[in-house]
C-alpha cells in the first residue's frame, strides 16, 4: 500500500518520510520525456536529450508479512504529471504538508491533490513559533480547507506525530468508504 506525502518546496516532506521509515529515504530516478505526451512515454528510457531525470524519495514501513506501506514525497512540478498519476493509482491517500510561511506553495499542493481526486488530510508542520501564531481554525480558513478534510499539526521530525498523522489519514479513507463505497 502507499501513501503520498506532498507539499511546497522545503516543507519537510523528506524529513517526515525519514522520521518513520525503516529504511533511510531512498531516491530513485525516473526518466521522463520533456513533452510527456503519452502515458507510456512518461517513463520511457531514451538515451538522448529529450529526457530529463526526476528524482523522488520514499521510505518503507512493514506493517506485517502481508502489508508493506510505502511513503513517497512527490515532486509537484507540472512536467512530472505522468509520474504523479501513476503514483496516485491505488494510493490510500495523501498527506498535504503545509508551512504557514509559504501559503502559495501550500495552495499549489492542495490544488494538485484535489485534482488528483485523492483522499487527503492537511498537516501543519510548525516551523519555529508558527504553532503559536496560527490556530488550526485560522489555517483552515486561510487555506480554504473543506470542513470534511482533517487538519492537524504534525512536527515532521517527531515519529510519534507522524505515526498519528498516517493513522488519521487511513481512518479518513475508512470514513469516506463508509459514506460512499468506491467501485
Amino acid at each position: 500500500m502507499k501513501i503520498l506525502v506532498t507539499g511546497g518546496f522545503g516543507v519537510g516532506k523528506t524529513t517526515l518520510v525519514g522520521s518513520i521509515s525503516e529504511i533511510t529515504p531512498l531516491t530513485t530516478e525516473a526518466e521522463m520525456t520533456q513533452a510527456g505526451a503519452g502515458v507510456d512515454e512518461g517513463l520511457e528510457l531514451r538515451p538522448d536529450k529529450t529526457t530529463t531525470t526526476v528524482a523522488f524519495d520514499f521510505g518503507r514501513i512493514s506493517i506485517d508479512e502481508q502489508i508493506v506501506l510505502y511513503l513517497f514525497g512527490a515532486p509537484g512540478q507540472k512536467r512530472f504529471h505522468a509520474l504523479w498519476e501513476r503514483l496516485c493509482e491505488g494510493a490510500v491517500g495523501a498527506i498535504v504538508l503545509v508551512d504557514t510561511r509559504d501559503v502559495e506553495g501550500s495552495f499549489a499542493a492542495l490544488d494538485r491533490v484535489e485534482r488528483a481526486g485523492l483522499p487527503y488530510l492537511v498537516a501543519h508542520n510548525p516551523f519555529g513559533d508558527e504553532a503559536e501564531r496560527w490556530s488550526l481554525e485560522e489555517i483552515r480558513a486561510s487555506l480554504d480547507i473543506d470542513a470534511g478534510t482533517p487538519l492537524l499539526r504534525c512536527d515532521a521530525r517527531d515519529p510519534g506525530q507522524v505515526r498519528t498523522t498516517l493513522a488519521e489519514l487511513v481512518a479518513h479513507r475508512q470514513r469516506l468508504l463508509e459514506q460512499e463505497p468506491v467501485g
Binding site: 500500500m1 502507499k2 518513520i20 529504511i23 531512498l26 531516491t27 530513485t28 530516478e29 525516473a30 526518466e31 502515458v39 507510456d40 512515454e41 517513463l43 520511457e44 528510457l45 531514451r46 538515451p47 531525470t53 523522488f56 520514499f58 518503507r60 514501513i61 506493517i63 506485517d64 502481508q66 502489508i67 508493506v68 506501506l69 510505502y70 513517497f72 509520474l83 501513476r86 503514483l87 493509482e89 491505488g90 494510493a91 490510500v92 491517500g93 515519529p159 510519534g160 505515526r163 498519528t164 498516517l166 493513522a167 487511513v170 481512518a171 479513507r173 475508512q174 468508504l177 468506491v182 467501485g183
Partner: protein, 122 residues
C-alpha cells in the same frame, strides 16, 4: 552496479530498447516466482535475488542505481519469462477475486494498516 549518468551503460543494460508496453506502478510490489538465475544478465539476476522479498520497483531502482524506466524494461522481460510476478494496485482484473479494484478500497486491509500504524514502535 552501473553508473546512471552513463547512457551507454544503461543502453547495454536494457539491450538497446527504449520502452515497453508494461505500465508499471513504481510502488507495486514485485516478487520472485522462479529463483533460478542461470542465463540471466547480471542486472536481471540481481533483481531476481532482491525480489525474494516483495519490493517496489522504485526501491529496486534505488538499490541497483538504475532509473525506473530501465527497471521497468528489465522487469517486463522477467515477468514474460516467469521469473517475477507483480502484485499491482492498478490491475483490477487480477484482484477481481477479492472484489476490490485497489487494496486501498479493502476495508479489512485498511483496518490492519491503521492498527499496525498505531502500534508501530517509534
Amino acid at each position: 552496479m552501473i553508473d546512471p549518468d552513463v547512457p551507454d551503460g544503461l543502453f547495454m543494460v536494457v539491450g538497446g530498447r527504449s520502452g515497453t508496453t508494461l505500465r508499471l506502478d513504481p510502488f507495486a510490489l514485485v516478487v520472485t516466482e522462479r529463483a533460478d538465475t542461470s542465463g540471466l544478465s547480471l542486472e536481471q539476476a540481481d533483481i531476481v535475488r532482491i525480489c525474494d522479498r516483495p519490493i517496489a520497483p522504485a526501491e529496486l531502482g534505488a538499490r541497483l542505481g538504475i532509473p525506473l524506466g530501465a527497471v521497468t524494461i528489465l522487469l517486463a522481460d522477467l515477468v514474460d519469462q516467469g521469473y517475477i510476478a507483480i502484485r499491482s494496485a492498478d490491475r483490477p482484473a487480477k484482484r477481481a477475486a477479492s472484489g476490490f479494484a485497489s487494496p486501498a478500497d479493502d476495508r479489512r486491509l485498511l483496518e490492519k494498516l491503521r492498527v499496525g500504524l498505531i502500534n508501530l514502535p517509534v
